[in-house]
């Protein structure tokens, strides 16, 4: 499987970009020990014009490069944690709905549809506004708006797998329903969940950026969305302030999408778009 993944050029590029972003985020304190908020120079320094400030400074004289690197932490953290939380809500709900059927299914699906009918972004804004913007509440809000597709996917997969003969065999072996669900059915639904999760991280990063852009980010955390939001008033005189964080978001989301696609091809070789049968 790893060999199949590695033979996909796009996926390998995605992994390299993502590793680079992670490395920067992890070493942020070493590279820029003064933090992203420190004013280091005159404001509006053009990139590549001053030694030590390759990406220039912003409206208050803060180092854009420091902001980018520290912002990577927030973006990645929010992306990963909110995806995990979404999985923790969506997987059990979808599994129970798909496996037990009947009223459990009806109830869980109506509940899911309730969340799906409200536009994602609007709901996230409302949640963050109610909960006060902190990293925790933003993560939670993103998780709450992104679990419904997970639940639906898991439900469909579980419904397909539970009709397999080996599940019948497990019933005949006298295993309890819970053990059949956790031991026989769920492990066989992981591949599409993994693929979906990698794409969800990308969506979560975009959502977080959008929230910060609107000024609903955590005021104590530097993030890419916040940087673009703060720079939008001066976009014509200082293009680099919104350009570099934009490129950072683009690259990270692209990397995650490439990885997700690579995983999808590697885990489902029969559905591979390349048709190398």
């Amino acid at each position: 499987m790893i060999r199949r993944f590695a033979s996909n050029k796009g996926a390998v590029i995605g992994v390299l970009i993502l590793l680079a972003v992670i490395a920067l985020a992890v070493s942020a304190d070493l590279l820029f020990p003064r933090g992203p908020w420190a004013m280091v120079q005159r404001p509006f320094l053009v990139p590549f014009s001053t030694d030590g400030l390759p990406l220039g400074t912003d409206t208050l004289g803060r180092d854009v490069a420091a902001g980018l690197v520290h912002g990577a932490r927030v973006s990645l953290l929010v992306g990963l944690v909110s995806t995990l939380v979404a999985l923790m809500i969506g997987v059990p709900l979808g599994a129970v709905a798909g496996f037990y059927g009947g009223w459990a299914d009806e109830g869980a699906m109506r509940f899911t549809e309730f969340f799906q009918t409200i536009p994602n972004f609007a709901l996230a804004i409302v949640l963050v506004a109610i909960l006060e913007p902190t990293l925790g509440s933003i993560t939670l809000a993103i998780a709450i708006v992104s679990w419904p597709p997970v639940a639906r996917l898991v439900r469909a997969e579980v419904m397909a797998v539970k009709r397999r003969d080996y599940v019948d065999a497990a019933r005949l072996a006298g295993l309890s329903k819970f053990r059949i669900l956790t031991g026989e059915v769920l492990p066989n639904t992981v591949s599409p969940i993994i693929v979906m999760a990698s794409l969800m991280v990308a969506t979560a990063i975009l959502l977080e950026s959008s929230l910060s852009f609107l000024g609903l980010g955590d005021p104590n955390a530097m993030s890419w969305g916040y940087m673009i939001g703060a720079a939008r008033t001066v976009i014509r005189s200082a293009w680099w302030l919104s350009f570099f964080p934009g490129v950072a978001i683009l690259l990270t989301v692209l990397a995650l999408n490439l990885i997700g696609e690579g995983l999808s091809d590697a885990l489902n070789p029969h559905l591979s778009r390349k048709g190398t049968a």
Partner: protein, 546 residues
């Protein structure tokens, strides 16, 4: 006889990394006008690849490595794609195994047939329609005008295959390639389709290349036979020669492996019943709305039967007869609407969920599809011990027992540490049997347990079941659509039709003196029945000699 197709030294290369370099190597054959050539072999023998190469339908990565296939004075393998397309359908036509997937589900039957004319730019719309109607009538579809307006899902399997044949015949091809066209059909339908092909051959004088794995079918229709093993044509000759005096050991092995209907000796059995079914019913209701009554299918309709200790009861019927539902009701994967399933005095049908879980061990099942019946993520040991451990047996004892069982079913204890994908279909079926035995059941329900296997593998698994029956005194409910297989293993046979038990009796009685007309029809439809009967005579005569 004028040859229609001559293949000389055909080789088809497989992509690097396959289990052998060539799918087919050095194959030569000739099909004459009005001749039926059967290409016989087990799965993976390269028989379908030959047909696909002729039609230019080889999967990506597979290429023709050498040889010629002369049709109508030209080498079809060397033709450019445009000329090949003109040839396909017009001069060489093909029918496939699964008529449901070979037909477009969104097009009416009439449209699909007349599309063949359109694709080759022939005739105007009214003439197309007239010819389509004539074809539909010729292949014996009932009520042709109505069938032409029907969609594929409204037709039965046999009717769909007839529609496929009508499409293939549309442009009066000189050669028809039939790739296992009857494998997915019931025996009675199969017999009708074989008759149709024989009839069309006679009327139109076309050559037929018939690909099959079933020597019964070969005996029924072949003029000439080619036997393929691992891509090499090991034997060819006239049907009579190959069937009666096979030269190559592989051919003899295949012929020996066919369940010929040679009847086993009747055994004396203990009268104590292991399983009693009393008035069992199961009705499936589908559809229905506020104003429409639901459609009811009586899958199992008032069935009563008993299986004695150590007895093998064959449950025979065609698809839709309710035999699988009955089997699943016995193990209670399906809960019956009425009736009792008595196993050792307990009524399984009446147990609550929790009680049922504790008595699960009493009846076990061996499934049809060896690839779907084992969890791909669990090692064999886990598959074999999960049940006994859940029943409260200590893990160490269960593991020791599992290894012992793997030995008994002929795999060896080291199989325990491996994953299902490392095994072949036949081996997986052995694991399935071991898994059923691990629960120490009183009865095993085998639902089409050998139907998905090649004949030689099928024979081995049947041998294993026979051996287990003798060694462990197993009682088995053996569900199958194939009377020949049932005859090999069973003591008694029960015949099911549309949910009802139409006849039940000892194997000898069912085969030699069937009472019910449906049983008679089933027996008559078994491919190669006459040939098998001769064999049976010969076999019995040999047996009678001291």
């Amino acid at each position: 006889m004028r040859p229609v197709l001559t293949i000389e030294d055909l080789s088809i290369a497989l992509p690097a990394g396959a289990d052998r370099p060539h799918a087919v190597s050095g194959m030569s054959m000739t099909i004459g006008e009005g001749e039926i050539l059967c290409v016989v072999g087990e799965s993976g023998s390269g028989k379908s690849m030959t047909a696909n190469a002729l039609m230019g339908l080889l999967p990506p990565g597979v290429t023709v490595a050498g040889g010629r296939a002369v049709f109508d004075g030209r080498d079809v393998l060397a033709l450019p794609e445009t000329q090949r397309r003109a040839l396909r359908g017009r001069q060489i036509a093909m029918i496939f195994q699964e008529p449901m997937t070979a037909l477009n589900p969104l097009m009416r039957i009439g449209e699909q047939i007349s599309e063949v004319f359109a694709a080759h730019g022939m005739y105007g719309p009214t003439e197309r329609e007239r010819r389509t109607l004539a074809l539909v009538t010729e292949v014996g579809l009932p009520d042709p005008a109505k069938i032409m307006r029907a969609y594929p899902f409204q037709l039965s399997g046999g009717q769909r295959q007839r529609a496929m044949i009508a499409m293939a015949l549309a442009l009066e091809p000189e050669l028809l390639i039939a790739d296992e066209p009857t494998t997915a059909l019931d025996v009675t339908t199969q017999a009708q389709i074989l008759d149709l092909i024989l009839d069309l051959r006679r009327r139109r004088g076309m050559g037929v290349m018939f690909i099959t794995h079933d020597f019964g079918v070969v005996a029924e229709i072949a003029d000439k036979v080619i036997v393929m093993e691992k891509g090499i044509a090991v034997e060819q000759g006239s049907a009579a020669e190959v069937l009666d005096t096979p030269q190559h050991p592989y051919t003899s092995r295949l012929l020996d492996a066919i369940p010929t209907g040679r009847l086993p000796e009747a055994r004396s059995l203990e009268p104590a019943p292991v399983l009693e079914l009393k008035g069992l019913r199961k009705v499936y209701r589908t559809g229905g709305g506020l104003f429409r009554p639901p459609r009811e299918v009586r899958a199992v309709d008032d069935v009563s039967l008993t299986i004695g200790r150590g007895e093998v009861l064959g449950l025979v019927g065609e698809s839709g007869s309710g035999k699988s539902t009955l089997g699943r009701t016995v193990v209670r994967l399906v809960t019956p609407d009425a009736g009792q399933v008595l196993v050792g005095g307990t009524d399984l049908a009446a147990l609550s969920e929790e009680e049922l879980r504790k008595s699960r061990g009493k009846v076990q099942m061996v499934f049809q599809d060896p690839y779907a019946s084992l969890n791909p993520r669990h090692r064999i040991l886990r598959a074999l011990t999960a049940g006994p451990v859940a029943m409260g047996r200590p893990r160490a004892a269960a593991e020791a027992k599992a290894r012992e069982l793997l030995e008994i079913v002929g795999l060896g204890p080291e199989a325990a540490e491996r994953f299902p994908h490392e095994f072949s279909g036949g081996q997986r079926q052995r694991i399935g049997i071991a898994r059923a035995l691990a629960m120490e059941p009183e009865l095993i329900v085998a639902d089409e347990a050998v139907s998905a296997l090649d004949v030689s593998i099928q024979a081995q698994v049947l041998d294993l079941l026979r051996d287990l029956r003798a060694r462990l005194g197993l009682s088995i409910l053996f569900i199958t659509h194939d009377l020949r297989v049932a005859a090999q293993l069973c003591d008694r046979i029960a015949v099911m039709q549309t949910g009802r038990l139409v006849e039940m009796g000892a194997v000898h009685d069912i085969f030699l003196a069937p009472r019910d007309p449906y049983t008679r029809a089933l027996l008559a439809a078994v491919p190669g029945a006459d040939w098998a009967a001769e064999n049976r005579m010969a076999g019995n005569a040999e047996g009678a000699r001291p």
